[in-house]
């Protein structure tokens, strides 16, 4: 398809934002875009990086929340496993 670079970049940004809605980190996002949208990893990485520069507060907060979330998730998993073990 013939797109202008600008619209292509916008599309990549759009895809990245979708990944952000799914709480993916950069690597996961690159991977997803590569697999599902055939976006070259280097392009995703570049656009991600540029987005991060432009929206540094957002990405910082996003990463913080991801860390918290990961911690909570791990705790949850442990609790679940424990309860599952208990049930067994």
């Amino acid at each position: 398809m013939s797109e202008s670079p600008a619209s292509y970049i916008r599309m990549v940004q759009h895809l990245i934002e979708k990944c952000l809605l799914h709480r993916m980190n950069k690597e996961e996002c690159i991977d997803a875009l590569n697999k599902h949208a055939n976006i070259k990893p280097v392009i995703t990485s570049t656009v991600w990086g540029e987005l991060e520069k432009e929206n540094s507060e957002f990405f910082a907060a996003y990463e913080r929340e991801r860390q918290n979330q990961t911690t909570e998730t791990k705790t949850t998993e442990e609790v679940i496993e424990e309860s599952a073990d208990d049930e067994d």
Binding site: L21, V42, F58, R64, I80
Partner: protein, 417 residues
């Protein structure tokens, strides 16, 4: 038009018998009708008759051609609005043409009889009332441009290309029955003028890629605006206060609340915010605007007018992942070993186990989104790239992205291979 001719001959006879004064006009009208191949004479005839006959409807009924179609439009108000619109337009156009010709003709040809002086106003009234009645029926009323409606409008316009977007095509793409071409046309006009205004602002500092965000922001800003917003101030951009307001010209305050709740669900509702969820004082950036002005201007105060969508940093630092369903996120399969799905509904009413209540939702939105949902989400973007960006992050400048890509060895975007 063709049907006019026999009518003419019949009315000629009538006229000759009934209206003596009008008969003077006949030769002239006949001549004209011959010359122009127009139902001009019929209209004159009709006017003459109309002079005798009371009531506007009879005007319409007597007059052939455009008037007839106007009557049809009037009569069948339930018809498809587009068709009606077209017919009405045609009727109006013809009316105008006829009127202008007719008025000239009247003044030049007759000018002596009262009928000729009176019929134009009557004709006007007839036309207006007919048109008014036609307008009163579905589709031609003032359209309430809701956020959803506008979103579809923007989609269609972006798809067609703003400059090339034609109301009829936009209407097709939108596929909404209640809209007429006229509604779309006037909305498009306003939209274009708004865009021009925004572009003029943007051209001062930002790059072209950000301009694309402008019309993507048309809709979302309306969602984020407090319901007690001042009346729309038409496209006035005051540097400190009013950045957001012009965008709100297109908003509907009554709609904002319901729509705003849509957005936070995509991400996370703001738990501890004392004010309604979308009014979160921006903690990170000291804003130029008073905090009460609007939730989003702190974002705009950064100097970009491109972001209308909820600004993530406002909500993230205070996110608490409350246990609310998140319709915006497709439900992700969970990996609880016991097989139950930790949705709020699936929980037993008495104290649900903490992992399920609070973090069960979290689990759904965890770091393992399913491939299918990802694929679906990304596929949506690929299929409909004109959709507004879900987060509305500030886009990087095109130049810097391209420069970076060049550094990495990518020359063409999109890549050819």
């Amino acid at each position: 038009m063709l049907a006019v001719t026999p009518l003419r001959s019949s009315t000629n006879g009538d006229r000759a018998g009934d209206v003596g004064g009008a008969a003077n006009q006949l030769p002239a009208s006949d001549d004209f009708s011959v010359d122009f191949d127009f139902d001009f004479s019929e209209l004159l005839a009709g006017f003459d008759d109309a002079d005798l006959l009371p009531g506007l409807e009879i005007d319409a009924i007597d007059l052939p051609g455009p008037e007839t179609s106007a009557v049809e439009v009037e009569a069948s108000c339930g018809r498809d609005s587009q068709q009606e619109e077209r017919e009405e337009e045609m009727a109006l156009t013809n009316h105008e043409e006829v009127l202008s010709c007719e008025i000239k003709e009247e003044t030049s040809a007759a000018s002596e009889s009262n009928s000729s002086a009176e019929t134009p106003p009557e004709k006007d009234r007839g036309r207006k009332s007919t048109a008014g009645q036609a307008k009163g029926s579905n589709g031609k009323r003032k359209v309430d441009w809701t956020a959803e409606l506008h979103r579809r409008f923007v989609q269609a316009v972006e798809q067609l290309g703003v400059e090339k977007a034609v109301p009829s095509r936009i209407l097709e793409l939108m596929g909404i029955d209640c809209l007429t071409r006229h509604n779309v046309a006037s909305h498009l006009q306003k939209y274009r003028s708004h865009r021009k205004h925004m572009m003029a602002r943007e051209a001062e500092s930002t790059s072209s890629s950000q301009r694309r965000q402008i019309y993507a922001t048309w809709l979302p800003p309306t969602m984020g605006f407090p319901p007690n917003a001042p009346p729309p101030q038409h496209l006035l951009l005051h540097p400190n206060m009013q950045h957001f307001r012009p965008l709100h010209v297109w908003g509907h305050p009554t709609m904002n609340q319901s729509l705003v709740h849509m957005w936070p669900k995509h991400i996370v509702p703001i738990g501890p915010a004392p004010t309604p969820s979308w009014v979160a004082p921006h903690p990170i950036q000291p804003s130029l605007l008073p905090p009460h002005a609007s939730p989003w201007p702190p974002h705009f105060a950064r100097g970009t007018l491109t972001q209308g969508t909820p600004y993530f940093p406002q909500s993230l630092p205070t996110m608490r992942f409350p246990a609310l369903p998140v319709p915006g996120i497709p439900p992700l399969p969970t990996y609880r070993p016991d097989g139950t799905i930790p949705t709020a509904m699936a929980q037993p009413p008495p104290p649900p186990p903490p992992p399920c209540k609070q973090t069960g939702w979290l689990v759904q939105l965890d770091a393992h989104p399913s491939k299918e949902s990802i694929d679906a989400a990304l596929g949506d973007v690929l299929a409909q790239p004109w959709l507004p960006l879900p987060l509305g992050l500030k886009p990087p400048s095109l130049e810097s992205v391209m420069a970076e890509l060049h550094k990495q060895g990518i020359a063409n975007v999109p890549p050819c291979n």
